[in-house]
Symmetry: C2
């Protein structure tokens, strides 16, 4: 596996345009999701957990009832990397 590559500002701008609802917050890729219920919210989390484990790249996330907030960063890269973008895209695929 290649080492994760930290994105520069230009690349981040391009990435954010392709990821609706995602924003930079505290130097992480951040999005807040809201679902109809806890069952739907945790079902989403379970799907994301399987994808994240498959990538060996995991989110920082918070859940209360029907709300899930996700922050992505790559400690080994010292910032947002291509792995975070890949995981964000997979998360969008689950959320749709």
């Amino acid at each position: 596996m290649n080492a994760p590559r930290r994105l520069n500002e230009t690349e981040l701008g391009d990435v954010l345009r392709g990821l609706p609802g995602w924003e930079l917050r505290e130097a992480k890729l951040h999005k807040a999701f809201r679902f109809a219920s806890f069952v739907e919210a945790f079902g989403f989390m379970a799907s994301v957990a399987l994808l994240a484990e498959g990538m060996n790249h995991h989110p920082e996330w918070f859940n209360v009832y029907n709300q899930v907030t996700i922050d992505l960063t790559t400690h080994d890269a010292g910032g947002i990397s291509d792995l975070d973008v890949e995981l964000a895209r997979k998360i969008e695929g689950v959320a749709r």
Copy 2:
């Protein structure tokens, strides 16, 4: 179902003595868990999610990799209630 009952300070003190590792933080029942891996951490969360849904009483929780922090409160009771204590005990049952 009876309405959840907010606990007074004396009752909270008694509860905390019976729940090792739990503490009051920002007026919520709080505990931090650490596991061997993300798989174990999320497995724990999945078990707690099923129990919480069964109670119709849900945690506020945060996960990053092998760490899970949980905060319990009851909005309808305006503080920590008997429901939070019941959920904390169930969570301990899962964690053991």
